[in-house]
Amino acid sequence: MQTYNLKHLKELESEAIYVVREVASQFENPVLLFSGGKDSIVCAHIARKAFYPAKIPFPLMHVDTGHNFPETIEFRDKFIKEIGANLIVASVQDSIDQGRVVEEKGFNASRNGLQTTTLLDAIEEHKFDAAMGGARRDEEKARAKERFFSHRDEFGQWDPKNQRPELWNIFNGMKQFGENFRVFPISNWTEMDVWQYVLAEGIELPPLYFAHEREVFSRDGVLMSTSDFIEQKEEEKNMKTTVRFRTIGDMTCTGAVSSEADTLEKIIEEVAATRTTERGTRSDDKRSEAAMEDRKKQGYF
């Protein structure tokens, strides 16, 4: 007898496609946030599948801190060309030049927090009413409480205690003028699901994710790539070693891990055996116990 049962990756994919199509239907002017990291690449891949044989009916937007790994930008431009999508770049440098934000100073200076202003300004400028992103609930405890359709007031703020209930797969995208939504199509995916999907679908990723030799220094137990964007303390000595990145944010807040995993198969093996969370290499989450919740309330993605 024929059994009708989807395996987990197909079910997660089907759910994500459903969410992306729902966004295209319920909103007038949506955008897909694209950082060049694996989660946003998977989201773009899903969007491509959702509307095939038509093109993705909304633009992609990169909130660019100006402190990217050069590999990310190279990959981004190639990827966008390949899928034939429109790319908008919202620049944190522009926000600094316009005096909208002030750059942090010191050893732990990062433009990560400044992204929020740039993102909110870009949403306003382009009149986007929904911004999709690749955030996952398994990443972080505040994100575990997120809805697929996350309502934001006109200041872009998240009100975690007063979220709309989300029942079945019926999404409520109704809003007042000036308000907008953040939408997370791969909410239910884990880090492992993403890697398995990348392998199963043959999705190309930036080389940063695979083990390579790099000049790094150690800070608070995390290996940081040396770059012009980070001021090193005297005792932080450079060393060359084989590393890979589990997440890709900007160079000032994304640490590497020692790894020999240079193929997807080896990465999956490593992810299965690993005993620390993916965002453990992200210094932006470690500022306090509620660092993510606080940033999200202000409008962070």
Binding site: P53, K141, A144, P160, K161, D193, A200, E293
Partner: protein, 424 residues
């Protein structure tokens, strides 16, 4: 843990919900499942270990792991639904972790709405209490196919078989009055780990499997409706390129049944008949499509179909009506208004409705119908009659959880204020 990448590629996905408060041992149980299946990471564990110490608690408080919001950690309670993920080499699991008190009924309903299985905790010392009735009823109302009663804290009743059997018998008698299809009973101690992941040596009289064994092996292949063909059109795909000049595809997620190219179908509400030409995906055409697949359908004839329409089989059609009877769980601080007008979302369809009648409010602890009570406040469950501005195409919720569910939206605030299960 098994590190072979291929064993993780083809797993089934089980979504289950838990309801309960700290006293019930719910957080301990989830913590135990995550911890014993090695799904808690070292840095997560260290972080909650530190927080526990700061608060002067002796043991590492696993509830801190599930309570994600600052206010929840401060108050030591679960307020909102949180989603947790873990996997064993057999299955991937999504837990909808919800609070258990009556004032959070709406959160339980939300968590239950996407679950195939519900875990209900019973304290072995207390037996069935009001809360057990409520949780079982919510599972039944939300059409959860499998319910597992975990008789917890068996260590505190000396692992006594008679206690377990007595609670089991009482629960069976109660559950037989409800529409729960598949029920199981497991004696456990979440704190000591008996029968959660590892088989208990303290209860040799229990011959069944552990909780994790049940979660890994319970048959979930029949949880979707594969009989009644329902395809709500979500989005119309028109590439308008040279290559796909005349392409017109209807994109959506199958809500029920199995569709194949060549099937005679009818489009609702127009009633026009046609034949399925192809079922397309990015990866190529498929021979058949079933719930919950997202696909794009093309049809032999050019007929006018848009979002909100539904493609069904000629000889098996849903109800088409503007008068709809629903069990509603109210979710808003503003009470339900008799004669009030609301927006409605049902599958991919949008409409407006008026609340024509409040038939009764349900006492969800005793299941008594309170026919004289017309004040429906937050967390109440009631039977109401709706009249919609246009016909909806629907099935009874107990027959199909997709085509049988709707949400009610307050048009002034745009908030989701009601969850409706259509009564057939």
């Amino acid at each position: 843990m098994n590190n072979d990448p291929n064993t993780y590629l083809d797993m089934e996905l089980l979504r289950f919900s838990t309801a309960g408060s700290v006293d019930d041992g719910k957080s301990t149980l989830i913590g135990r499942l995550l911890y014993d299946s090695k799904s808690i990471f070292e840095d997560q564990y260290e972080a909650i270990e530190q927080s526990s110490k700061k608060k002067g608690e002796e043991q590492v408080n696993l509830a801190l792991l599930t309570d994600g919001l600052r206010s929840e950690r401060e108050q030591g309670i679960t307020i909102d639904v949180a989603y947790r993920y873990f996997a064993t080499p057999k299955r991937k699991f999504i837990i909808a972790d919800t609070p258990g008190h009556i004032q959070y009924t709406r959160n339980m309903v939300t968590g239950a709405s996407t679950s195939n299985l519900s875990i209900i905790l019973i304290d072995a010392r207390k037996g069935i209490i009001e809360q057990t009735h409520r949780h079982t009823f919510i599972a039944s109302l939300l059409g959860i196919p499998h319910v597992v009663f975990c008789i917890n804290k068996m260590d505190l009743v000396d692992y006594d078989e008679a206690t377990f059997e007595r609670i089991k018998k009482e629960t069976e008698a109660f559950a037989s009055k409800l529409a729960v299809k598949d029920i199981h009973f497991i004696p456990i101690s979440a704190l000591k780990g008996d029968n959660v992941v590892n088989k208990s040596e303290n209860m040799p009289w229990y011959k069944g499997g552990t909780l994790l064994y049940l979660l890994e092996n319970i048959h979930i292949g029949s949880d979707h409706n594969h009989i009644d063909c329902r395809f709500p059109v979500q989005y119309v795909i028109r590439p308008q390129t040279d290559e796909f000049h005349d392409y017109r595809g209807y994109a959506g997620r199958i809500a029920g049944g199995v569709f194949k190219p060549g099937d005679k179908v009818v489009a609702l509400p127009s009633g026009f008949s046609t034949t399925v030409k192809s079922i397309d995906t990015f990866d190529g055409e498929v021979e058949e499509a079933f719930a919950p697949m997202s696909v794009t359908m093309t049809l032999e004839d050019e007929i006018d179909i848009s979002r909100g329409d539904m493609i069904v089989r000629e000889n098996n059609q849903p109800e088409v009506s503007q008068d709809i009877e629903v069990m509603v769980c109210w979710m808003s601080e503003r009470p339900l208004q008799l004669r009030g007008k609301y927006a409605v979302k049902h599958t991919s369809n949008d409409a407006r409705c008026i609340v024509k009648d409040i038939k009764y409010k349900l006492d969800i602890n005793t299941l008594h119908r309170l026919e004289d009570e017309k004040d429906i406040a937050m967390n109440d469950i009631a039977r109401v009659s709706l009249r919609t501005t246009k016909p909806l195409f629907f099935d009874a919720y107990q027959k199909n959880r997709v085509s049988g569910s709707l949400i009610i939206i307050d048009e002034a605030t745009n908030e989701t204020v009601g969850a409706g299960m259509i009564v057939g």
